[in-house]
């Protein structure tokens, strides 16, 4: 088995010396597809930033491969569309950390940009203004930027937030295809379990308010006991036509939705 790309051992993560989560043990290896799931504001993004080293740990140890090529896709809404960049220029930013200061992007970088845009099928948008793209096209452009760094680890923060169901499925199918092509570990953050349960191989449940951090395989985590710990109410899981469905089973909700 290869050495892990990223590890956290007994980690405490948070801001301004205030830990949100403590005692976190996490490992991401080559070829993993990990989904970090929990409520909004539950500490998912904080955990991932700490794992990447973008946020100092408040305790415990961080390890893994050094140097590690990372591709990062932020929440789409965090990227301001008033900036007058073309999609190709946005994708080329993925090469900036590889180049370092004082080096200009060259032909190798241009080829990497075109390759990355072709991989997510937005090559035709290279000269379009980023701000004029649809939500789905912007998301693909940001994924292409992450791929332009030729990453070993692709990290995505709520990549399907605010998307309609068709665009959401298309984005998740794209991530599945990128992962299936090999050589890439994927870590994605989502507040919607249904969104990731049909794609991820490993799940981590995170909620700082319940001091919950639990990680395991899909089979381990899609159990009523683990799901109830995440949602704080009885939850069931059913497989229907090859897809996982997650739904609450408490009587109160059944009354609310009854016709």
């Amino acid at each position: 088995m290869s050495a892990p790309l990223v590890t956290l051992e007994g980690a405490a993560v948070g801001y301004h010396r205030r830990p949100l989560l403590q005692g976190v043990d996490l490992e991401v290896r080559e070829g993993d597809f990990l989904a970090v799931v929990g409520p909004n504001g539950g500490g998912k993004t904080t955990l991932v930033r700490a794992a990447l080293g973008a946020l100092p740990l408040l305790g415990g140890r961080r390890g893994g491969r050094r140097p590690l090529r990372i591709g990062y896709v932020p929440q789409r809404e965090h990227v301001d569309t008033i900036w007058p960049f073309r999609a190709g220029e946005v994708v080329r930013m993925g090469r900036v950390p590889l180049l370092g200061p004082l080096r200009r992007p060259g032909q190798v970088d241009d080829e990497a940009v075109h390759r990355a845009m072709a991989r997510v099928r937005v090559e035709h948008l290279h000269d379009h203004a980023y701000g004029d793209l649809s939500g789905g096209q912007r998301q693909r452009t940001l994924i292409a930027r992450a791929l332009a760094a030729d990453p070993e680890l692709l990290v995505l923060d709520e990549p399907t937030n605010g998307m309609d169901p068709a665009a959401e499925l298309a984005t998740m199918d794209l991530l599945r295809d990128l992962h299936a092509a090999g050589g890439l570990a994927v870590v994605m953050v989502s507040h919607r379990l249904e969104n990731v349960a049909n794609y991820a191989h490993t799940l981590a449940f995170v909620d700082k308010d319940r001091q919950l951090f639990r990680v395991g395989t899909l089979a381990e985590m899609l159990r009523p006991e683990a799901l109830s710990a995440l949602y704080g109410r009885p939850v069931a899981v059913r497989e229907l036509e090859g897809r996982w469905l997650v739904y609450p089973t408490d009587a109160e909700l059944r009354r609310e939705v009854a016709p």
Binding site: H78, V79, M93, V155
Partner: protein, 279 residues
């Protein structure tokens, strides 16, 4: 025609001030692209107040312990030190709870209050304070032009060398940080150039044109749908036109110089706005 003839004959009077105005217009126009896109347009107002606060403190010290601060280069250095310190503080401290403009507004109002309080304790120099900070666009000394040239060259070199880092860290700091870039460092570099440019150009043009040139030319370029690289060139060109044209028109029509420059910069917004409205 007579006014134009008189203007051309008076080249010795307007040579240095006009050169300083044009250079300041170009520098501020280009830097303004970052100011507008980062949504921190009030940064120049805050930094000129912080510069003034530095001067007031220097003058208070001078009056108390009799050192010679009332000397133009010293005044400029003090203004620049305070402006750079304020810029680095405003540029590199990003709060998760407050938008950047809250820090800018806080710095402006705190510095303004302290300037009023400090000026009230000055015995001799209070009446000169405006001139020390905001200068006089009609009569810029050659020494101020020399400092302006040096600051403009420094800013040009920094932005040319580190263009991709400054752009990435400003456009998407979250991703830049996740990829291991030192975002506070690049924010600091960007705000260092602003902190140097603002007090120097304020002495050449005045506070109002500095605020205007950090905002209007960049807004005009962005309205005209200039791309990122082109926006710097277009905004610098608009800054040159507004500063140079405003200077000449104010001379010919006997208008206040700074206000004429600002009005012309406002007029130069119109083509881009019209193009944007046409779709």
């Amino acid at each position: 025609m007579n006014a134009l003839r008189e203007f051309l004959a008076a080249r010795e009077i307007w040579g240095v001030p006009l050169t300083a105005s044009v250079l300041a217009g170009a520098l501020l126009g280009a830097l303004g692209v970052y100011v507008v896109l980062r949504r921190t347009v009030f940064v120049s107002a805050a930094l000129t107040q912080v510069s003034t606060l530095g001067l007031v403190l220097a003058l208070l010290v001078e009056e108390r312990i009799h050192i010679e601060a009332e000397y133009a280069p010293v005044q400029l250095v003090v203004a620049m030190v305070f402006s750079v310190a304020g810029a680095l503080l405003l540029g590199t401290v990003r709060s998760r709870r407050l938008p950047a403009e809250a820090a800018v507004g806080g710095a402006w109002v705190a510095a303004s209050a302290l300037v009023v309080l400090g000026a009230s304790r000055l015995v001799h120099a209070a009446h000169d304070l405006g001139g020390m900070v905001f200068g006089n666009a009609v009569a810029v000394p050659a020494s101020d032009l020399a400092v302006l040239v040096a600051v403009a060259v420094f800013c040009l070199v920094v932005h040319a060398l580190f263009r991709k880092e400054l752009a990435f860290a400003s456009f998407d700091p979250e991703t830049a940080r996740a990829l291991g870039m030192n975002v506070p460092l690049w924010d600091g570099v960007l705000f260092l150039t602003l902190g140097l440019a603002i007090p120097v150009t304020a002495r050449a043009l005045g506070a109002l044109p500095v605020f205007a040139f950090l905002t209007l030319p960049a807004a005009a370029a962005l309205l005209a749908r200039a791309g990122f690289r082109a926006a710097f060139l277009v905004a610098a060109a608009i800054g040159v036109l507004a500063a140079g044209g405003g200077y000449v028109l104010s001379w010919l029509w006997e208008l206040p110089t700074g206000a004429t420059m600002v009005a012309l910069a406002g007029v130069l917004l119109l083509p881009g706005a019209a193009a944007r409205m046409r779709g």
